[in-house]
């Protein structure tokens, strides 16, 4: 399968944080959910992809081209970043005028259709918008030049459930065109369970896993057991565990194999939230 985004051994060092050998690929036509707790390195990775910050080492290829070939690549990318946008004294009308002079493929009628769909006033300064309205405007702006790759940092944060549903629907429509792909970081993992094809999980600057969502939901599971049952499980057969007041919650990576090895038949389905919590907070 052709990849739209390839990241290999990406490193970035700060005084108090380090991104270590980040490697993952986003296949064409797919939505990848990029998850991890605050400060895990999601935004840093996205900023590196966009060349907003520069890596210490590693390679980033978009549409099979090195990102140093900035101009051509960015013509095809739409971006929503957290707290990064146009100066708030501008209006949606201004944004249209500006973007016409930035992207060759800027589509004024598409932009105004979106504004209408989301009931955003075209002549009001951005600073008069609520957080949700602002987010919608950011998303609309990212979509209106027909990008082939969307890079979205927390695009649904601050949106109420209805707006979130609307936005997700837009992403789904966007992805209907098989040429288009999305890399989307989010805390709201339920959104990702609906739309993501791939999940990449970053923790403390390192990629812990990068797989298809179905693989993760099929393979991983949670075993809830007593201390006595837990003591019988070999260390190599589980990933992490958490001791609660009454039981042990054990994250396992291979449900089928586990069932054949142990006499524990009830394995709960995993959610991305469970996976994140157990991976980060669980003990080894």
């Amino acid at each position: 399968m052709e990849n739209v985004l390839e990241i290999k051994n990406l490193c970035k060092k700060y005084d108090n944080f380090e991104l270590k050998n980040v490697t993952f690929n986003l296949p064409k036509g797919m939505i990848m959910g990029f998850i991890g707790e605050n400060g895990a390195g999601k935004t840093t990775t996205l900023k590196l992809i966009l060349n907003i910050i520069k890596s210490n080492s590693g390679e980033i290829k978009i549409f099979n081209q090195n990102i140093k070939n900035d101009k051509n690549i960015k013509e095809e990318i739409g971006v929503v970043l957290d707290d990064i946008f146009f100066p708030e004294i501008l209006t949606p009308n201004d944004i249209n005028k500006i973007m016409k002079g930035i992207y060759k493929s800027w589509d004024t009628s598409l932009y105004y259709n979106y504004l209408k769909q989301f009931s955003l006033l075209t002549n009001k300064q951005i600073k008069t918008f609520s957080k949700g309205m602002r987010k919608k405007l950011e998303i609309i702006t990212a979509l209106s030049h027909h990008p082939k790759l969307l890079i979205l940092d927390e695009p649904t944060s601050g949106l109420d459930p209805i707006a979130r549903a609307e936005v997700i629907e837009i992403f789904q429509n966007f992805i209907e065109n098989e040429d288009c792909s999305i890399l989307l970081s989010s805390h709201i993992t339920t959104d990702l369970e609906h739309i993501a094809d791939y999940i990449t999980f970053i923790n403390d600057g390192k990629i812990i896993l990068s797989k298809t969502k179905d693989e993760i939901l099929d393979e991983y599971g949670i075993v809830k057991c007593t201390e006595k049952e837990f003591s019988k499980i070999n260390k190599q057969d589980y990933v992490k565990y958490k001791k609660t007041k009454y039981e042990y919650e054990v994250l396992i990576q291979n449900k089928k194999e586990f069932k054949t090895k142990y006499d524990i038949k009830i394995i709960d389905k995993i959610t991305l939230d469970d996976l994140m919590i157990l991976m980060i907070k669980g003990e080894e």
Partner: protein, 210 residues
């Protein structure tokens, strides 16, 4: 790149009301003979442009602009071109205003004197711009304010100090043969100054991380 220029001009547009009011106030003061408008308005245009940096910083525009095609280059280029356009527009307005004020007050128009003082103020405006922008790109608008303040005062102090040792009249006399070419020389200096400033800002911004 046109988009970047438009962005700054549209931002200034939202300050047009304030600018309009200031122009009227200065025009009235000029008519009353209180001030010389030719020196105030172009300088004001730079102040307005510098305020666009504050808005940019507040919404992290610089980081956003890098996500656009050739964003790192066009951000700086757009800012310089928009500033020059703005300065030219304000200079023309001021020039017209100066003629009107001069005509109302004296019933004559002194073209040469007005043009010379306008040219001087244009030179001053571009000097300030060339000097300020790289510092803003390097330090960000907040820290740059303090740095600019310190540097300007240091410069004035230095000039004052030097002037007590140097015979300025002697220098002026020995350079008097250049008088006929002064406008050309100053124009060239202006162009070179802005170009060097632009190149420095571009270099700073090409390495900047957000």
């Amino acid at each position: 790149m046109i988009g970047f220029i438009k962005k700054d001009l549209l931002m200034i547009k939202s300050n047009f009301k304030l600018l309009g009011i200031l122009i009227i106030v200065y025009a009235i003061m000029g008519l009353m003979g209180e001030i010389d408008v030719s020196f105030i308005l172009p300088f004001m245009s730079v102040m307005v442009m510098i305020s666009t940096f504050s808005y940019d910083a507040y919404n992290n525009w610089d980081a956003y602009s890098i996500s656009f095609p050739d964003g790192r280059k066009n951000n700086v280029k757009g800012k310089y071109i928009a500033t020059i356009l703005m300065t030219i527009i304000v200079t023309i307005i001021t020039l017209l205003l100066s003629f009107i004020i001069s005509y109302v007050n004296t019933k004559t128009i002194n073209f040469e004197e007005t043009l010379v003082s306008m040219f001087g103020s244009l030179f001053g405006t571009l000097l300030v711009l060339s000097f300020t922008y790289p510092i803003i790109y390097k330090l960000g608008v907040e820290k740059a304010r303090i740095a600019i303040f310190l540097i300007v005062f240091g410069f004035i102090f230095l000039i004052t100090l030097l002037s007590s040792y140097i015979n300025i009249e002697f220098i002026a006399k020995s350079l008097s043969f250049l008088e006929n070419y002064l406008i050309i020389i100053l124009t060239l200096i202006m162009i070179i100054m802005v170009y060097i400033s632009y190149k420095i800002s571009e270099k700073i911004f090409s390495k900047k991380e957000f």
